[in-house]
Assembly symmetry: C2
DNA sequence: TCCGTATTTCGTGAAACATCAAAATAGCAT
DNA sequence: ATGCTATTTTGATGTTTCACGAAATACGGA
């Protein structure tokens, strides 16, 4: 379950996608490709991997497709892994 | 700086190494290979990647080499990435 | 329907990665 | 030095990943 998350996070461009998406609510695939300076097909592949890992959510808006990050998935994958390392917080109920 | 950490964490066997190392202080390379059921050379390669990412520390003890996990590196890499996502705690002085 | 824009899928070549056996290295003991 | 054990390096091989152009698909508008 966390397998896909860590695989997705292993590529610098995919981490950059998540950073680019952070803060703003949505961003168009084309704008992402331009901001990160990668070709459309290249970004599309990265977005597919991120989507399959549930790290981003996509939504078609007319002829465009917009993406939003799913930071909570990153958080819980990190928390689970740290916990398996014995580093996790004992009480998961804060916030 | 976190680049190597995320690349290292992308492989299931390398995450398993860190989990196996968690808790115990040190573990011999050979015992790790047996516990994880991978051939010696295979594990040695994974250990090299973990070492270069500073995720494990090695120390020669006579004819054996023992390894210890460096969980704090995982923690800080995760914290830094979450912060770059705007998810990090704004004030690190509450608990 | 036909056109234009946005995005994804397909195909391909290059580069990186993973595995393991065999050979090399390191240390300790005799 | 010789031998023994533990680990790493090397080399060969198969698999996966990455990047991008070209083609396909999806949508909305004229």
């Amino acid at each position: 379950m966390a397998d896909g998350v860590f695989a997705a996070l292993s590529h610098p461009t995919r981490r950059a996608v998540l950073r680019e998406l952070a803060g703003r609510d949505w961003m168009l695939a084309g704008d992402l490709a331009e901001a990160l300076d990668v070709a459309g097909p290249t970004l599309s592949g990265h977005l597919r991997i991120l989507r399959e890992a549930d790290l981003v959510v996509s939504e078609r808006r007319g002829t465009t497709i917009r993406y939003m990050a799913n930071a909570s998935v990153v958080e819980s994958a990190f928390a689970a892994f740290l916990q398996s390392l014995g580093v996790g917080r004992a009480d998961p109920e804060n916030e």
